[in-house]
Symmetry: C2
Subunit: 155 residues, 2 copies
């Protein structure tokens, strides 16, 4: 079976450099991690500001960051393990988070950062659980996955 957190996928994405303005891939129907299309929405995140924790019971998240730099923390409460990821246009990739994991994200750029979530279901407030930002003590400044180590989370 393995751990649920091992089902998180980090998929490098292409940036096509063009003089008129770059094209940046986000997701194709045939992409790794694609779980269906329900809704796409943007979330801005201020510098040093955290959104979360939130645990979706049904939604698979597919996250890309075209502007700024965003740190994502994912916690597998069953295994007591947390991991940190970092997304932005410089190290451009898509983060796929399956349902059942706690996640929070924090703006790590000097200005606001922009995240796009391509979710497999439409927004439904009843399918997500929430905890305060302080619920899990995770080191937000540790090196990001896969360089950074798994963090032990005391529940």
């Amino acid at each position: 079976m393995g751990l649920l957190i091992d089902k998180v996928q980090l998929t490098p994405l292409s940036v096509i450099p063009l003089a008129a303005g770059n094209v940046m891939h986000a997701m194709q129907r045939s992409s790794a991690g694609f779980a269906g299309f329900g809704e796409a929405y943007f979330s801005w995140i201020g510098s040093g500001v955290t959104k979360g924790w939130k645990r979706h019971r049904e939604m698979t998240l597919n996250l890309v960051v075209p502007v700024g730099l965003v740190a994502f923390a994912v916690v597998d409460a069953e295994a007591g393990i947390g991991r940190r990821y970092e997304l932005g246009p410089e190290a451009y990739a898509r983060l796929t988070i399956p349902p059942g994991l706690w996640m929070a994200f924090r703006g790590h750029a000097s200005n606001q950062s922009l995240m796009l979530n391509i979710a497999d279901i439409e927004h439904d407030p009843t399918e997500a659980d929430r905890l305060a930002e302080t619920a899990f003590a995770l080191d937000w400044n540790a090196p990001a996955y896969p360089v950074g180590p798994d963090q032990r989370i005391d529940l």
Copy 2:
């Protein structure tokens, strides 16, 4: 029947103001104009720079602009009519362009603008026709639809 250009849809979108960073809707499976999910990609566009003209034979485009200000021009070559639209976070909306229409877009912000296209098919260079930027003489500074008038396009 009506004109093909009358099938272009401009759909206002919600912005949810949050202290930690706004949430901006883009598209739901149940949204007006949704034609299926094939691919989502970003396109940056420089200030005063134009991309196009391009005519997709199969793809329906669903366009949103979370950063900057982008002018879109759509030409119905059969009817000889052009229309100008404008998208950005201040007047936040989604532009749905069905296949068969020529389109071009231009950055109208002082910095780069960011467009997201949620397309119903994956990228396929063989399903699109291209023309030079000068192919249609459209007034890029006319008032945007629905305020601005239809522009007569000489072919």
